[in-house]
């Protein structure tokens, strides 16, 4: 049995002068989360729209749940749920009405559609707001309703196009919890995001896209290894103890690196950073700080920013080409 629940090969799509997709291959294993990471305009949304049957590619093939997206879109539509980048709930309808409508369009009997709506509203903590028009909802509530709408038909594959863009950190974590629950219940999730942090938190595998092309595909750990992993940053309460902090951080530094005082333009002086290879660095650092009696104002493990990821990946691509040229 085909274990790939999403399989796309050589997808190309051009809008006027823009080559939105320039030969994209994607593969997602059943029961996993595939994170499609990239900046604005990289082609993430276009790829999702192709897979969700909203857009026909100029070239390429795509299979979702084993069904040809181009030849049998209606069959695919019975097996997918889509939550777009912009919450696409109907503002004039109540939470219940929004979900019941989706249920009816999925050929549920009205009674079953109502039951399913109540179930989802309860699960997304929207029961109290169920009878209010969606335009009275907060941004986070709207996103939850939007996500609930994509789950009405128990989809095998869920497409989430930037599900947390514009949400505050707490709401973002709530959303992550929902995604994890869906996967635990057997769904497969393809999610696009601009945040490495989000892809790292959710995805089993990450595909990095830029200018309509896949520039890297790896597990989150593999990707972090390639782009330099995480940075541990500590700011002692007493700036005079910065040197002690540097010494402790040196002890957990990734091979071949050293701790250094933050010198990046724009960052406030008085903190030290060190590249680390794993979260376990914290296990050593925290007791060491305590033993040395150092109080800290800031303590954080930072993933490289998307900019840094791209810098590293595209830089590596250039280097490879150079090597090829030399050989």
């Amino acid at each position: 049995m085909d274990d790939l629940v999403v399989r796309a090969e050589g997808l190309r799509k051009r809008f006027g002068k823009t080559q939105a997709l320039d030969g994209v291959d994607l593969a997602m294993r059943r029961g996993t989360v595939l994170g499609v990471l990239g900046p604005n305009g990289a082609g993430k949304t276009t790829a999702v729209r192709v897979l969700a049957t909203l857009l026909r590619p100029d070239e390429g093939t795509a299979f979702v749940a084993g069904i040809d997206v181009l030849r049998e879109p209606q069959k695919v539509r019975r097996r997918i749920g889509l939550t777009g980048q912009y919450a696409s709930v109907d503002e004039d309808l109540t939470g219940t009405q929004n979900l019941v409508l989706i249920g009816q369009l999925l050929d549920l009997h009205t009674r079953d559609a109502k039951k399913r709506a109540a179930e989802l509203l309860e699960w997304f903590d929207l029961t109290e707001a169920a009878g209010r028009p969606a335009k009275t909802y907060s941004g986070g509530m709207r996103r939850r309703l939007d996500l609930a709408a994509s789950l009405v038909g128990h989809p095998e594959v869920i497409f989430l196009d930037e599900p947390t863009t514009g949400l505050d950190p707490a709401k973002r974590e709530d959303m992550w919890g929902v995604v994890r629950t869906q996967v635990a219940q057997g769904s497969s999730v393809l999610l696009t995001t601009q945040y490495l942090e989000e892809a790292d938190a959710l995805a089993d595998e990450i595909v990095v896209v830029d200018h309509g092309k896949v520039i890297a595909q790896d597990t989150p750990d593999g990707l972090k290894r390639r782009v330099g992993g995480q940075t541990l940053r500590i700011r002692p309460a007493d700036a005079g103890r910065l040197n002690d902090v540097l010494r402790i951080l040196d002890g957990v530094a990734a091979p071949g690196t050293n701790a250094a005082p933050d010198s990046a333009a724009g960052s406030r002086p008085g903190a030290a950073s060190v590249p680390v290879t794993s979260d376990h660095a914290l296990d050593d650092v925290i007791p060491a700080l305590r033993r040395a009696g150092i109080e800290v104002n800031e303590f954080g493990l930072h993933l490289p920013s998307l900019d840094e990821v791209f810098h590293t990946l595209t830089g590596a691509e250039k280097d490879e080409k150079k090597t090829e040229a030399l050989v």
Binding site: R30, L54, R77, Y86, S88, D92, L93, I102, S187
Partner: protein, 272 residues
């Protein structure tokens, strides 16, 4: 595989009850959505309630004396079926505007990712307009009666008149749907539709008898679908010949559907 997937209801690969019944059911569900929206924003009904009343009052009392040589009652008897025609044509404009706004908001993306016929969202929106056209008829006939308009035929012709009016509105509305699909903003829909509806409603027999017009204008008025609709409405409400205008109206309705339904569907599929 995982049990949770097996627990989910079995996927049906063809819609319950065949594809035509499914289209009807899905369109009805989507029509209900449009109606809920209408109820939530009653001001969206101004164009089918207050506007026809204002036009009727204005043309009867302001211009009626001059146009009809002083006999306002005679003019009201003449004007009211005409106003029905104009109000129906104008009442269709909002349809294209709403659909355009829905597409811009991304609501239709969700519908398009569901296993419903591609035409269901459009058919549903058109069906919901039955309520608006019925409102036009009831408001116009109601206020007309207060002003002194008298139906001189009977109940069956009156019902036929209302049914014809609604039927015409449903067919004419597809022009608005098409325009809603091809222009960018909902404001532009209104602009384009006014350009169409004004010449059609004024270049007709709505306000004055066709015979009073210069020959070149008569040529246009005589093929204008609004003229035929109004002619049929006059016959059905106040007596006189009906057949010719009725057949011409039905022919126009069929023509509008044949041309604009495929155009609208194609534009909808191309968009977004």
């Amino acid at each position: 595989m995982t049990t949770a997937v097996l627990d989910a209801p079995a996927h049906l690969d063809s819609p319950r009850g065949g594809s035509f019944l499914a289209l009807v059911r899905h369109s009805a569900a989507l029509a209900k959505r449009s109606l809920i929206k209408t109820v939530r924003t009653p001001e969206a009904l101004i164009d089918v309630t207050i506007q026809p009343v204002i036009f009727l009052l204005m043309f009867t009392y302001l211009f009626g004396g001059a146009i009809a040589g002083g006999d306002r009652h005679t003019y009201l008897q003449f004007l009211l079926p005409g106003m029905l025609g104009q109000s129906l044509a104008m009442g269709g404009i909002a349809l294209g505007q709403n659909l355009n706004a829905d597409i811009e908001k991304g609501v239709f993306d969700r519908f398009r990712s569901l296993p419903v016929s591609r035409s269901a969202p459009l058919v549903g929106a058109v069906m919901a307009d039955i309520v608006r056209y019925l409102t036009v008829c009831l408001v116009t006939l109601g206020i007309g009666t207060v002003m002194g308009f008298r139906i001189s035929t009977g109940a069956p012709p009156t019902i036929a008149a209302v049914a014809l009016a609604i039927g015409f509105g449903l067919c004419f509305g597809w022009i608005s749907v098409w325009v809603g699909m091809i222009v960018r903003t909902s404001g532009a829909v209104q602009g384009v539709m006014f350009l169409l509806v004004f010449p059609l409603s004024f270049g007709s027999n709505v306000f004055v008898a066709t015979e009073t017009l210069p020959g070149w204008l008569q040529a246009f008025v005589k093929v204008n679908p609004i003229t035929h609709l109004v002619g049929a409405e006059r016959g059905l409400l106040t007596g006189g010949p009906v057949a010719h205008h009725l057949w011409m109206t039905l022919a126009w309705m069929a023509g509008l559907l044949v041309v604009f339904v495929p155009l609208a569907l194609r534009a909808y599929n191309k968009r977004a």
